[in-house]
Subunit: 327 residues, 2 copies
C-alpha cells in the first residue's frame, strides 16, 4: 500500500495516532486550518525551522524510515537547546513521493513521535503535500526561555574557556560506514541515525548561567568555533589534542589514511553543543551538568584578537572553515 | 549567476534586504540558529504551515518568480484570516535547485516580502536547503487572536446564513488560461498569480463577533461547505444561482462546454472566506465589512440534519466533494 492510495484525512489520522497526546494549552490541534496555542507568560518564544531533503541530507537506501523521522526533529531540537530553550511544540510539513509505502510513512512518523514524546514536544499541526521527486521533512519547532537565560553565539570574552559536549566525528564515520560495506561500528552508525540533541544540557547551562555563548554543531565544530568567534568579537585557540574524537571514528578514519581531527571538526552530523564559559564559572558547569549523558570537554580558550587557530602539539595554524558553500 | 554560485550567507543577506525591517518585539532575527520573539500577552497564538511544490502547486513555465513568492505567503495568511487571527511573523524554508538563477531567487523573495510588508508580517527566520529536483517554498506563519474572538469551522447552527467573500472560479480559469495560449482575462490570471488573502475580512468578522463559523477556500468552496457542515453538525443548502462566479471565468468555462458552477465550487485557488452568521447579526456584518475589498454574498443557509445540498433552480442534489485524494 502506497501513500497515494490513501486520502489526506487517512494520513492525518495515522499521524495523530503516532504522536504524543495533546496538552491542555493546545486549544486547536492537528486537523484544523491552523493550530491554536496558549503562550507561556514571561517567556521569550524561540522558533526554528530545518528541512531534511532526500538525496541531500539523507539516503533512503541505508537510512531506515524511523531514523529519517527521528533526525528531522533532532536537528530542530538541537537549535532550541543551543539557545537554552525548552522545546514546546512542532509543526511537521511533509512532501511525500506518491510511491512511498504507507509502512515507511508510519515508521517515519513513529520515529518522529518517539523523539517528540521523549522531549515532551507536542505536534500541533503540519502540512501534507505531494512530491514529484524527493521525500522532504520540514519541521518547525517552538520553545520557551526566560529573557535573562537566553544563550547566544555572542557573549564570549577573551579568557573564557571553550567546551564541547559528548564526542565528535562519530556521525560522519557512521554515515561513511553505512554507505560502504555496512557498519563496522554500531556506535558510529547510531550517532548518525539517531542523534541525541543536547536539549537538556542547553537548558541546564542556561538556568545555571554557566555559558557565556553557545551554538550547536549543525555545520560542524570548525564552523561553530568560527561563528562564536565572529559573533563575540574574540579569537579562539583550539587544542587538537583535547578534542573528544569518537574512538571508533578515529580508528575508522586513520585506517583509511584520513586526518581524523580534520574530518571530525569539519563533519556536520554531530548534534553536540559548543559553549564558552568564564574560568570562575567552573562550579556552575559542574552543577548544571553533574549527571549529563554528554559531559563537556574543555577544548580551547578565547583570546584577544579575532584569529581562530587549531593548535596541534605546538604547531598552530588557522582553523579550516568546514563546508559552507550553498551549491 | 545561479544560486549554487553563492554561499548560504550571500543568499541570507539578499533575503534580509528584501523583507520588511524588524519590529521591536523581535529579539533575535534572521541569521542566528533560531528566531527569538516576545509573545503578545492575553492573546492565543495561531500557527500554520503550507508548502508550495513545483510541479504540484505551480508551474515555473508560466508562473513568474514574484508570483511564486507571493502565493507561498498568501496561502498561509489565508489560514490565519480564516481563524480571525492577525498575522505577526513568518519563517521561510526554501528548498532550491542549484540551477535556479539568482535573479529568479531575488524576484521570488521580493514577491514574498512585498506581501509580508502589506500585512505587517515580520520574516523572523527560515532555512535554506538544496533540492535535487523541484523548487519548494514551505512557509510557517504565526498570528494572534483574542480567545473569545477565535473563528472555527464549528459553531454554525440550523438557520444560520452562509456567505462567501469576493468571487469564485477566477483563479481556476486563470490557471487554465496561463497554461494554454495565454491569458484571455488579465483579471483571472491575476486571481491565480497574486491572490489577496482575506486577512482583514477575517479579523473584522472576528472583532465584530459577526461569524458563527469560518473557513478559507484553500480546497475549494464545495470542500469548505462540507467541512463547516461536518464540524458544526448541520446541513447546508447552497443556492447555485447566488454563487458569485467570476464573470470572465464563467464565460471561459461555458465557451469550453464546461459546467461553470461545478468548476467554480471545486477549484482550489480562490483564497476567499466562507462563513456563517446568525440572521440577526446582519448589522454586525455590515459594520465589519463596510469598506471591504471583497464584499460577502449570501449563498445559502444552514439546515437541520447533515445533508449538504446544491440547489440549481429548484433541482437539488448532493454537493460534490471536490478534489480530496492525496495521490
Amino acid at each position: 500500500v502506497l501513500v497515494s492510495d490513501l486520502t489526506e484525512a487517512d494520513l492525518v489520522s495515522r499521524i495523530q495516532a503516532l504522536v504524543p497526546p495533546s496538552p491542555p494549552w493546545l486549544t486547536v490541534g492537528i486537523g484544523d486550518d491552523a493550530a491554536v496555542v496558549e503562550p507561556v507568560s514571561n517567556r521569550l518564544e524561540v522558533l526554528s525551522v530545518d528541512a531534511l531533503v532526500e538525496g541531500v541530507h539523507f539516503d533512503r537506501r541505508f537510512t531506515p524510515p524511523d531514523a529519517i523521522g527521528h533526525r528531522a526533529l533532532a536537528v530542530n531540537l538541537s537549535d532550541l537547546g543551543a539557545m537554552g530553550a525548552e522545546p514546546r511544540l512542532a509543526l511537521l510539513s511533509l512532501v511525500l513521493p506518491a510511491a512511498l509505502p504507507v509502512a515507511d510513512f508510519e515508521s517515519m512518523i513513529q520515529g518522529f513521535g518517539a523523539l517528540a514524546a521523549r522531549h515532551r514536544v507536542c505536534v500541533v499541526g503540519g502540512n501534507l503535500a505531494r512530491s514529484p521527486g524527493p521525500l522532504i521533512l520540514d519541521v518547525t519547532v517552538s520553545g520557551v526561555v526566560k529573557r535573562r537565560q537566553l544563550l547566544r553565539r555572542q557573549g564570549a570574552r577573551p579568557g573564557d574557556l571553550v567546551f564541547v559536549t559528548g564526542s565528535i566525528g562519530g556521525a560522519a564515520a557512521g554515515l561513511q560506514m553505512l554507505g560502504s560495506a555496512g557498519p563496522a561500528s554500531d556506535s558510529c552508525a547510531r550517532r548518525y541515525l539517531y542523534p541525541s540533541p543536547r536539549v537538556r544540557t542547553g537548558v541546564l547551562l542556561a538556568r545555571n548561567r554557566a555559558a557565556s555563548a553557545c551554538i550547536d554543531l549543525s555545520d560542524g565544530l570548525a564552523d561553530a568555533v568560527h561563528q562564536v568567534a565572529a559573533a563575540s568579537g574574540v579569537g579562539i585557540r583550539i587544542d587538537a589534542g583535547a578534542l573528544p574524537v569518537h574512538g571508533d571514528a578515529r580508528r575508522w578514519f586513520e585506517a583509511r589514511g584520513e586526518d581524523a581531527v580534520e574530518r571530525a571538526i569539519c563533519s556536520s552530523d554531530d548534534y553536540e553543543l559548543l559553549f564558552t564559559s568564564r574560568p570562575r564559572w567552573a562550579g556552575r558547569i559542574r552543577n548544571a551538568l553533574r549527571s549529563s549523558e554528554a559531559p563537556p570537554t574543555q577544548i580551547g580558550v578565547c583570546t584577544p584578537g579575532l584569529e581562530v587557530v587549531l593548535d596541534r602539539g605546538g604547531d598552530s595554524s588557522a582553523m579550516s572553515f568546514g563546508y559552507k558553500h550553498f551549491g
